[in-house]
């Protein structure tokens, strides 16, 4: 029965779960993955006949060329940042809220209703505050509905929040034709707010920026220091642990989802009332922020300051691609492509955080080993893997080369197993 089977055949590559990875190494790995994505993006760009170096210069520096571009950049980042922070609340407890687009829109719609109908009867600050509250409650309730079904029946929240995105989109599209909201004239559209409902500005930038700074710190404090934040963390980690600790899981999920959606709704209110859209609710008010925010939150590993950094990066990509559009004629959609390539790349590199790739020694790997050792000597930082307690390869027959290490991070990751030191030395002589 077993006669015609080649019985002894070692696999070339095998994969094992990794215990832990050092923080520095992880950061290196992620940085590298972003660079990798940018290189892939560059290849893509050159593929369509544009010099990738010029393109990237345009993208990364274009926003800083002039005051207008820079302000545009800030305007791009602000809603993205707030929405990402909002999403991170839900994601922290592993509630896959991808309904940010819808919650953003409904927040904006509720704020607009207040802004249009109460504009003349209230003082400026009272009006802005009321719009703020309307945006928060509107977005929050819209998100809460999905959460109720989730905790009550276990409805798939990913798809449900998604459907709510489109429902919200058509609600706002409908409003462009409704009297009271509708702009005078034949073309559909929603009225511009009267100046009373405009956001104030600081040095040409909407006061949204203050909220941005506040929300980043508030989110940090909420998760790090408050009881509620603590509960969210535990529920996200393990619902069993949460129940063990006497937490009311359902209540926490509902409360957090409301908060998440409320923050997103506020982002919608700021966007409608701010200068980015000309103080007006439009059908395309989100500009795809709800989608990008998912990428941002995920890339930042839900850390508020990380979200700040990543949303700046994504903002630069987006605004920069607009600059590149005007100067090089490259379509603005390139920013979407770059964003998703970065996300793909980081998702792929996550693998090396959690798993080790063990390559069977053969001629090729042996040569690489020797070359690496030589290189390593030059760097004077070559160390055998056994020096690193966590990475002792149990099987001497295997060489433990972490796939990422030998090609890229030569300096830091020379994790080569010297199981045949004599041989290696001979080669070097």
């Amino acid at each position: 029965m077993t006669d015609n089977i080649n019985t002894v055949r070692e696999p070339l590559i095998r994969i094992a779960k990794r215990g832990d990875i050092k923080r520095g190494k992880a950061v290196m790995l992620y940085t590298f993955s972003v660079l990798f994505a940018i290189v892939i993006g560059g290849i893509f760009i050159s593929f369509i006949g544009v010099n990738p170096f010029r393109f990237y210069t345009e993208v990364f520096l274009g926003c800083f060329k002039s005051r207008i571009y820079f302000f545009g950049l800030i305007r791009t980042i602000m809603p993205l940042l707030i929405t990402s922070i909002g999403i991170s609340f839900a994601f922290k407890m592993k509630f896959w809220n991808i309904g940010a687009e819808g919650q953003f829109i409904i927040g904006a719609v509720c704020a607009t209703a207040v802004g249009l109908f109460l504009a003349d009867s209230l003082s400026h600050w009272l009006l802005i505050t009321l719009m703020f509250v309307a945006g928060a409650v509107g977005g929050g309730v819209y998100g809460l509905i999905t959460a109720v079904f989730k905790v009550q029946f276990g409805t798939n929240e990913t798809l449900l929040t998604l459907m709510f995105n489109y429902i919200a989109l058509y609600i706002v599209q409908y409003l462009t034709k409704v009297d009271g909201f509708r702009v005078e004239g034949s073309r559909p559209g929603i009225k511009v707010f009267s100046a009373n409902a405009w956001l104030d500005q600081i040095g040409g930038i909407d006061i949204t920026i203050i909220f941005c700074i506040v929300i980043v710190f508030a989110a940090f404090v909420y998760f790090r220091f408050t009881k509620h934040g603590y509960e969210v963390m535990i529920v996200g980690e393990s619902q069993n642990t949460a129940r063990y600790a006497g937490m009311n899981v359902k209540k926490i999920v509902l409360r957090t989802m409301f908060l998440s959606a409320a923050i997103i709704g506020v982002a919608g209110m700021f966007q409608a009332s701010g200068s980015a859209t000309g103080h007006q609710l439009t059908v395309g008010i989100t500009g795809g922020v709800g989608w990008t925010a998912i990428i941002v939150a995920w890339l930042a590993k839900l850390n508020p300051f990380g979200i700040l950094a990543v949303s700046v990066l994504m903002g630069i990509l987006k605004k920069g691609s607009e600059v590149a559009n005007s100067s090089l004629g490259v379509s603005t959609a390139v920013s979407d492509i770059l964003q998703s390539i970065i996300l793909f790349s980081v998702l792929a590199f996550d693998f090396f955080i959690n798993y080790r790739v063990i390559i069977k020694p053969n001629k090729f790997t042996k040569n690489i080993k020797i070359a690496l050792n030589k290189l390593g000597k030059n760097f004077k930082r070559c160390r055998p893997i056994s020096a690193d307690g966590t990475e002792i390869a149990v099987n001497n027959a295997y060489t433990d080369i972490e796939a990422k290490s030998y090609s890229v991070l030569l300096e830091d990751n020379l994790t080569v197993n010297n199981d045949n030191p004599s041989e290696t030395q001979e080669e070097e002589k």
Partner: protein, 326 residues
């Protein structure tokens, strides 16, 4: 009578891309992966398939390219989730953003440079909605069922083929076992990763054909930013409506096609039957556009309320399988 026939005809017309998208996703989910990237894969298949079809003036080549490029998107998904164990939700969303981004990018670039190909008569004749010989002459039924674009028959054929494949073949049995319990399939000697790859890729490719249909038949090749416009997402939800059966997907798609058809035909219907359906006209068009999403949301909620063992989501759908996990 003609109004009703026209209405149902449109329902089938608009249901076809859903049919393909849903079948593609069913194949993917049955093999144990939840690919949220249907919208993206449809977009990739649509734009590239269209350009090739229009340039080469060849429908078959277009379908092939639509299939291959959407399959390429699915391959990215398969590599990340099956081999690299990445989160399926996030990977799927990334794929959507990537696919739609690519679609807009290619379309916009070609429009700007003026190289966007227009559909030639030979191609539009190939996909035209014309009656089949003999069958098309049957009164009413001929117009309703046998006067469609060749694509529609192709879609139904694909659905039926996959229905038979999943339900009545041995390989289909293996595929279903992957979605239900990959560990059991693995222990019985099924090559889990290989089978997952094949079916994710195949499912993605089918979605790509759905995208091409949207490009060629629904939008007649005219460029705009929203060829796909949520069809991919509805497909994912339709999978639940069809309870993971490609056969039911055909009917589900036609029902959802009706919502789309109401957008353009509600006026006719109201005009024809003022007493019964007169109210249709008073509803704004935006609500008709919203309708499929509202119904999908309701379907999601209702199907989560009743819990059944069979005809439910495969138990391991959306969960990565790593053999040595303890």
């Amino acid at each position: 009578m003609n109004t009703i026939i026209n209405f149902l005809f449109s329902a089938i017309k608009f249901g076809t891309p859903l049919m393909l998208g849903t079948t593609g996703e069913i194949v993917t989910e049955k093999s144990g992966s939840l690919n949220l990237g249907i919208e993206g894969m449809m977009a990739m298949g649509a734009i590239i398939g269209y350009i090739v079809a229009a340039r080469a003036n060849d429908l078959f080549l277009g379908i092939l390219c639509a299939f291959l490029f959407a399959a390429f998107g699915a391959l990215i998904f398969a590599f990340l989730t099956v081999t690299l164990q990445a989160n399926q939700n996030v990977t799927g969303l990334a794929l959507t953003i990537f696919g739609v981004g690519l679609y807009k990018f290619i379309g916009q670039s070609l429009m700007v440079s003026g190289k966007y190909p227009a559909m030639k008569t030979a191609l539009s004749n190939m996909i035209a909605e014309k009656p089949l010989p003999l069958l098309g002459d049957i009164p009413y039924v001929g117009k309703l069922l046998f006067s469609h674009s060749i694509f529609v028959y192709l879609a139904v054929l694909i659905c039926v083929m996959f229905w038979i494949y999943l339900k009545y073949t041995k390989t289909g049995l293996k595929v279903r076992s992957l979605g239900e319990n990959p560990a059991a399939a693995d222990a019985s000697g099924v090559n889990v990763n290989f089978m997952k790859y094949i079916h994710i890729i195949m499912g993605g490719g089918i979605c790509g054909i759905g995208g091409l249909y949207l490009a060629l038949v629904v939008n007649a090749g005219g460029w705009n930013d929203y060829w796909i416009n949520g069809f991919g997402w509805i497909s994912i939800a339709l999978v639940i409506f069809a309870s993971w059966s490609p056969m039911k997907a055909i009917f589900g798609s036609i029902i959802f096609g009706m919502f789309k058809a109401l957008q353009i035909r509600s006026g006719d219907l109201a005009h024809e039957f003022p007493k019964v359906l007169g109210w249709l006209q008073s509803i704004p068009a935006d609500f008709y556009q919203m309708l499929p999403f509202v119904v999908t949301a309701l379907v999601l909620i209702i199907s989560s309320m009743r819990k059944k063992k069979e005809g439910a989501q495969p138990a391991w759908c959306g969960v990565n399988y790593y053999r040595e996990d303890r």
